[in-house]
Symmetry: C2
Subunit: 428 residues, 2 copies
């Protein structure tokens, strides 16, 4: 094959400009590795003529992404606009309808409409690839879809939003509150236009939903995910968790069991000495577990021009080399609707509570836990000095239901001073 | 494609039996992911009839691997015998000559004969895949060949021999000598029949040579590698390196610079807090660096039935899905002979030496380093208590040549008590 692979690129922000830069800078390398030239034919973006630090004048300009997607002279529509509705969605649909392959970094679009798009792609003999949609430069979609294809996947975990990990590690390092670090991150331009996409766990949740589909052969089901952001994580919990050998991470977990498919994106405690516990700043990490391979850990930059453009290029070169895979690793029709697990897998929990300064308060709490069948692994009481100081408890493995019952019962005892905090400890 | 992909498996040791087990246990999963059934047609091994914990009677048995490789009714020859010469090599050559695709875990064969085999494969429209040859279950060949295909790779590093990492971490944890832990590892069956393959760095060196070829588009050149095993690593160095915040690892490094291609497999110091520094026991880790992606870290089990069989299956499923890549990521004819770097990249070094107990000894050593233009980053002298106790020096970045000159000059001063130890500190 020496005919070039012809690209139409929609979206010339950081990532789009990064892709253009790689295609221009590494033309020879890409041709050597692909076996054919990789060429940009046409581009589009919201604003024409803005200086993006790359030369674009040699490419055709389209004002309309949908028109770009349908051009006869492109083989691959590279969608780097972002957004789950409106023009990006219409353009991807138009590309597929025209039998074009699609490479996208759009996690929201695929998390919400992945099944329909995958079905449409297969009906039109088109391929959709989305390595850049999950964990930036880490080739995790490839590792899971191809590298672990011989495994029954048992669990997928990950820290997949660099901004949240930055906020949590910065809170710990500097002893600052969530609000203080959030303001810093906002000033530094680290947050999405709608910050809730980051700190609410939605962006990371979209990524987890995509990995879960590949891992378990199920239809993407973002709505079934249990989703909790980092807004309620306190510096007290970060520090006290650290004191007990843990770190708090916004952790995504997808696992399949007899209970069904469990997908959670929420703050969790992980051992400080584990790879996930040691992940600092804006890095991403994904942990894949399979029945044959055991545990694989992948770490890298989850965002930024270079890493994300690297992932986009990997998909483009796959297509140039003639690699053609189903969107989620199996034909779309074979993907089963996921049965969400009604209850989550039992786990140890971290509990922090303040007690009234009265005799027997702690004994009452311990008794309540015992009544619910929850045994205590470790307990720390700092209250000898300061009566408002907390009691920390690490439980043995229990269900969230039992824990919630215990917390309700604790509240009825009248010995609590304020609402207890309960955070899951993920066994990583 | 609903025609089955038909396998002939040569070698039914741990890995071969593991592959048979996956094909039998996950037939439905493999078919769903491959789009076609994956079937074993025929097998061979040194001894027929041995109980391998899997049912083999439904497959054709061949006594001769070469005959198996040539069978008309197989599509893929799965070579899991190991060994760079004799029958395994002949069988792979026969499979290629017959136009069969080859999946192998044989790092020695490819490190020594990869170029010839890749050329033969391309001439016969056959594909050679070898994910299982490097770092067991970690899909690193795929990550480098495909996931980072849009990058100019700048450096590849790795701990790729689990036995060596086990020995080094066990020495540190238990305060045992190399000889003591070597004997333990031998008793536990952790070592190859020829232990020098492990502890001499040869096995890991074969893996690094393969990754270097992919990373830099060069012909595999194992002979150009600078190779040093772990046999001379002392518990004193492990403990004193730890005291200064380092770990000693058998680290492979491949990097391309204006000096040429540098491939080294040798004990190195790495920061204790780095991912490589934290790698314990028999785990493997590979670090990939590219101009766009930055640094990617991949961790997992580097050996064992499940992980290695997982990697073999990934290659098989790629072939079943119709993915067809050049052996080293580019057509064999395009691979350039590597120009080995005449001198290695400058680095900081760790120096341990014992000095004569006489006034001015340390000053002489410092003066000698200064004369060679080597500046001292940190120094520790333990000799106030015990005159035989060592002096430890961490230098700033310098060349190995300057360091060797300095060591020779130190020896001429007459203040050394014994031969100094110098270990490179890799900037990870």
């Amino acid at each position: 094959m020496t005919t070039p692979l012809r690209l139409g690129i929609a979206g010339l922000g950081t990532v789009g400009a990064g892709v253009v830069r790689i295609v221009q800078r590494h033309a020879d390398l890409l041709e050597a590795r692909s076996g054919r030239p990789v060429e940009i034919v046409a581009v589009t973006a919201r604003t024409k003529g803005r200086d993006r630090g790359v030369r674009l004048s040699q490419y055709e300009w389209e004002d309309d992404p949908v028109a770009l997607a349908r051009r006869d002279d492109i083989d691959v529509f590279v969608e780097l606009m972002g957004g789950a509705t409106g023009t990006p969605k219409e353009a991807v649909e138009a590309a597929i309808a025209a039998g074009k392959d699609v490479v996208t970094a759009n996690k929201a679009l695929l998390a919400l409409h992945g099944q329909d798009l995958a079905e449409a792609a297969e009906a039109n003999d088109a391929v959709i690839r989305f390595e850049a949609a999950v964990a930036g430069g880490i080739p995790v979609v490839k590792a899971l879809t191809e590298g672990l294809a011989g495994n029954e996947v048992t669990r997928v975990m990950g820290v997949m939003n660099g901004t949240c990990n930055y906020i949590l590690t910065r809170m710990q390092a500097a002893g600052l509150t969530y609000q203080e670090v959030f303001a810093e991150a906002e000033a530094l331009g680290y947050l999405e236009a709608d910050p809730e996409l980051d700190v609410g766990g939605i962006d990371a949740g979209h990524k987890l939903a995509l990995l879960a589909s590949i891992a378990f052969g199920t239809r993407v089901d973002f709505d079934a995910m249990s989703l909790e952001g980092i807004g309620k994580v306190s510096i007290a919990d970060i520090e006290q968790a650290a004191d007990m050998g843990f770190r708090i991470k916004l952790l995504g977990v997808a696992q399949m069991s007899g209970r069904g498919l469990e997908t959670r994106m929420s703050p969790c405690l992980v051992p400080a000495a584990s790879p996930l516990g040691q992940l600092e700043n804006a890095m991403n990490m994904v942990v894949l577990e399979g029945d044959a391979v055991g545990q694989i850990v992948l770490q890298g930059a989850g965002a930024g021009e270079g890493p994300t453009a690297s992932a986009v290029m990997a998909d483009i070169i796959d297509l140039a080399r003639g690699t053609r895979l189903s969107t989620f690793g199996q034909p779309a029709a074979a993907l089963k609707p996921a049965t969400p697990a009604a209850v989550s897998t039992p786990a140890p929990f971290y509990l922090r509570m303040a007690l009234q300064d009265r005799p027997g308060a702690l004994a009452k709490i311990a008794a309540v836990l015992g009544d619910e069948g929850i045994s205590i692994d470790r307990m720390r009481q700092y209250g000898h000095v300061d009566p408002a100081a907390p009691v920390l408890i690490v439980t043995h493995r229990t269900t969230r239901d039992a824990l919630d019952s215990a917390i309700a019962a604790m509240e009825r005892t009248g010995v609590l001073a304020g609402e207890p905090v309960a955070i899951r400890i993920e066994d990583v």
